[in-house]
Each structure stands twice: as C-alpha cells, then as structure tokens.
Symmetry: C2
Subunit: 352 residues, 2 copies
Amino acid sequence: MTRLDLSLDAAALTVVLCDIESVSGNERRLAEAVELVLREVPHLTVQRDGDTVVAQTDLGRAERVVLAGHLDTVPLGDNLPCRVEDGRIHGCGTTDMKSGVAVQLRLAAQLDRPNRDVTYVFYDNEEVEAEKNGLGRVARNHPEWLAADFAILMEPTNAAVEGGCQGTLRADVVFSGHRAHSARSWMGENAVHKAGEVLQRLAAYEAEQVDIDGLVYREGLNAVGIRGGVAGNVIPEECVVEVNYRFAPSRSEAEAADVVRRVLDGFDVRVTDSAPGALPGLSHPAAAAFVAMVGREPLPKFGWTDVARFSALGVPAVNYGPGDPMVAHQREEYCDIAPILECEERLLAWLR
Amino acid sequence: MTRLDLSLDAAALTVVLCDIESVSGNERRLAEAVELVLREVPHLTVQRDGDTVVAQTDLGRAERVVLAGHLDTVPLGDNLPCRVEDGRIHGCGTTDMKSGVAVQLRLAAQLDRPNRDVTYVFYDNEEVEAEKNGLGRVARNHPEWLAADFAILMEPTNAAVEGGCQGTLRADVVFSGHRAHSARSWMGENAVHKAGEVLQRLAAYEAEQVDIDGLVYREGLNAVGIRGGVAGNVIPEECVVEVNYRFAPSRSEAEAADVVRRVLDGFDVRVTDSAPGALPGLSHPAAAAFVAMVGREPLPKFGWTDVARFSALGVPAVNYGPGDPMVAHQREEYCDIAPILECEERLLAWLR
C-alpha cells in the first residue's frame, strides 16, 4: 500500500498525488493511501464509505467548516507522470484538483487545534454521472458526516473565491435507421447520416450569458460524444449523440431540459442525467467573511461543483482552490506552485 | 470438437452451421469442424491455412472448378440461434453465406467421381478489411491451392448467376479539435460538431448507376461508423467518420478514391482499405457454359466478393448461391430452403 508523506510541501505532495492514477472509478488506491495516512494523525477521527474518506476534529468549537475535494480525474491524455518546470506542475489532475487535495491533507496534518472544528472530505466519482458521486452517496448514507456551518470546495479557482456554480444536464439524441449490407445501401436507412443536422445546430448555437448578483454565468451546449456503426460493411441502424448543457444557476433542471429540447426540436432527445446549479449566495455571513479574508474579487463558477450539493443540504458553500479552472480537463493541464502555497497559507491563517 | 453430420439435408446442415457462431475473427471452431469432417471423406485431400480449409479431388480430369465460400459472418443482431418457419431459415449467416457453405459440404461428401476435378475452399475473414481475408492469404501463401479453370463463389444470388462485383473502398474522415472542460467550452474546439457537414453531404449524395454489358451496377457512398468523445464533461478533441464507397467495376481504386475526395472536398479524408471490383466477364467460355446450365438471366453483383480475387489470379469466376443478397447483414436475415436444395441439385447434375 502507498504511504503518503505529509511532511512534503503542498507542491511536492501534489506531484505524488497526481502520479497515483485515479481516473473516475479507479480511486481505490488513492483513497486507501489517504485513509492510511489520516488514521495516523492523532487529532482526527476517520470514516470511510466506498472510496470516500472523511476525517474530522472534534474539539467542541462553536462553528464547523468542511474542506472538500474529489480524488478522481478525467481520463488521462498522455499526461502522466507529472513534470515540474519553472514553478509549474504539468499533468492530469494537477489543477482539477489534486493540488487542492494536497492542501487539504497538509491542513489536516498541521491543524491539531483549529479555531473552528474542521471536516476534511476526500471523495470519489466527481467527474462522471451525478448518481455515482461519492459526496452524494455520503449525503444519503451518512448525512451527519457533512453537517457544518460552512463548506469550502477546493475546486480550481486561481485562489479566488468563486460563487455558486452552473447546472449541468446530459442528454442522448438517438437516431434510428435500418441495417443493410453497405453494397445495397438503398435497402437500409442510415442512422449516422441523420445526425448531421443536430451537429450543425449545435455548432451554430449561441449560448447565453446570464448576470446574477453581478456575476456573469456563461452557458454552453455541446456534443461531448457520438457513436454509431455496426461493421465496415453495414449501414448503421443507430447513432447516438451525447449532449452536455451547462446552464446558469437561475434555471431549474426542467427549464434546462426545455432549452435543449427547443434547440434540438424534431429529434429524439432523452435526458439521462442532470444536476442543478447553485446561486452565488455570497451574502451569507459565513461566505461574506471568508471572501473578506481571501481579499480578492469573487467570480462566478462555470463548472458544476458540489457547492450545489452542499447548497441542497443547507450548508452555504463556495469554491476556493489553487488550480486554474481554464486548463482543467485539457491534455495540457497544469497548476502553478505559488497559488498552492498561497491557499495553504491563507487557510492555515484563517483556521489557526 | 463439434462433429458435423453431412448426411443431413443441406437446409438442416445450414441451421447447424449457423448455430456455430463465427463472427469474423472467431471462425476457429467452425473451421475445425469443417476440417475434421472433410478429413474423413476418402476421395478428398485436405489442407489448412489459419482458419481456411481447402479440400480437393485429384482425378486427373481435363478441367478443375473451385467452389468457394466464407465461414465468417457480420456481428450478431440478436438473431441466433436459427429459427425455421414456413420453409424459411431465419438467423445470422443464413443467407450470407452458410447456406452456400452447406451446399459445398454436401457436394464434397457426395461427389466421389465428379466429371471435373473440384476444389472446395472454406475461408475466414471475408466480412472485414481486405488484408485479413483468408482467400487472399491462401493466394499469397499457397497460390497452387487455388489453380483452376473456373471458380464459383457461393455468395447469395437467389440461385441466379451474378456477374462481376463492385469494388469497395473505406476511408476515415478525421476531425481535430481541442479538449476543454465542457463547462468552459469556449476554451476548446469541438471536433464532433465539425462532422455535421460531412454527414449532411453524405445524406444528400446521389450515387451513380453504371451500365456494363447490360448489367446495371448501382453505387453507394455511406458513413458506416462514427466515433468521438472523451468523457461526458470534456469537449471532444477528435471525431472520425468511417466511410464506405461501393463502386462500379469500371472504376479503378484510384478513381474511386478521387470520387470520395471530391464529394468530401475540404475535409481530411484518409483511405484505409480498398479492393477493386471485377468486370462481369460472362463472355468467358466456362462462365457462359455455366450460365446456360443454370438457365436464368444473369444479374450484376452489388456486393464485393472474392470473384475479384479470382479475377486477379486469372481464374474466371461468377457468384452463384442460394441466399437472397437483399437481406444479407440485416437483423432479419433469412434464407429460403427451396433455393438451397435447388443449388445443390443443379451443381450435382452439372458435376456428375
């Protein structure tokens, strides 16, 4: 079993965490390493549910804060192991979000007497369908583990506070045809050819920009996958375009589904998965105080994050982490070292 | 090991052969069964190359004829095991072409003193890329096994003689983009969206019909597959449309590639595989004599068949088999029993 060394600085620890591959569904090894090292920290109580690890202090403080981060990453893009160059760590998961996880682990080891009780959550399956999400599973199985006055998701924000998050909806657009030998294509009906118009509508669609409390949420409607075909000499009988709609938190999931159905009117659109956004909520006292401590202008969060899940649990939450959200999920993903150390320092100062 | 019973009539034997699943690449079990049963036939010499079995008489006749059929099928479509109903066998491979293989096996067992020497060829990987084709492999490894004055491919023709065959060309149309998190889609470039225009051009394309010696070859240009996408929250960086062009035998492979490039002008078209057609060649004496014996009007062959490969080896060849080519490669594939028995009877009469 892998042993993590929490005496490494947060940047070096980020490299170690990234080099333990943990694409969604494959977090076991990393979760075990996190559990193992935290069980050795005397001031923490550690719990485990699937590949989610929850550790907490129990000092009877007046307030409790959650620091949460996911252990999984999107699929690799020939970008592991990490490479460190000129103050920057390159590799899968560096920005989204093992740099944040490294800061969490460093805080967990150092803060033996925090001024607020702290719950550290390390969870699985954030980058896939909402129903697999480890934080959602813990909210169902052990809601008491997540009880808190305020939560910070350490998703990439360039060390600024990002308020709320957009919602996300996935749908399959399904085209049916009729198989035939491709040498007699006129006997069949080509399902792949039918997808052309949908792809062109998506390419032409201009997504909206929605202003909420001065934060501008920029939407997006995209094909994220397409598949069709039986064999090289068969007219395809089915084609499926997978669509992902990222929508402003002012829309409900039902309204979001209506937008997709309207844009793709005339086609067989099947919503497969959705999760609501979260309104910025920066007027909440705990959020306002944290924003003041960070001392930077708050921004809107584009990516869906589990801020929405804490919101639904009644726990005000913001995003705050060292990564750059703009390079998340790219082959060229990287994270600068300076904001990693800055986040650790700010949070240490705030919690000591 | 499966033992085939060649005393079954050709229809019952078709059912047995179909129920031994042999999707391309998985012909081993069927090839072994064919080899085993033919090695027990005293008047035959049997050879094996990969999953191709070649059996022949050696009576020193003035003329030698090849009867050839492929053992593989396209992927299943929930259509095995076979179902026999009202004189019709339903299931994968019934028409293309295990009914023809059943006739071959019946002839091989019965014709101990044929009036022409006969070579029976049972080969693998006809339904996939030309480079995997078992007959092609035998032509490279053991060309002497295929030496003959005339060849009959028992591909489905409704028990009529079908002359020549169309050529086939496969190409990948490749679209490149740039990965990004789908919540910030404006940072990426969606490769799947770019495929829309190609699909629309293919849908709109009107294929030609080419008259050669009174036989009208009807062409077809189709997407037979499409794939793209990394994960549900990532803007896809690549999309590939696989295209199959079936072209009249009057065109060369190079001319066929030009047609595809012209229709898809402006896109990145990469030819991956092609095989030339074969002109009808029914004026050859051996072909003309066989056509006269069958006593039906000859027709053009739409599907690519190994007639083209025999053509290239200098052996005149036609297609003649019991299946209906119109239902080949469909989920609803079937073969009527009457033409199976008719083909066996005509060939027995011709070769006795």
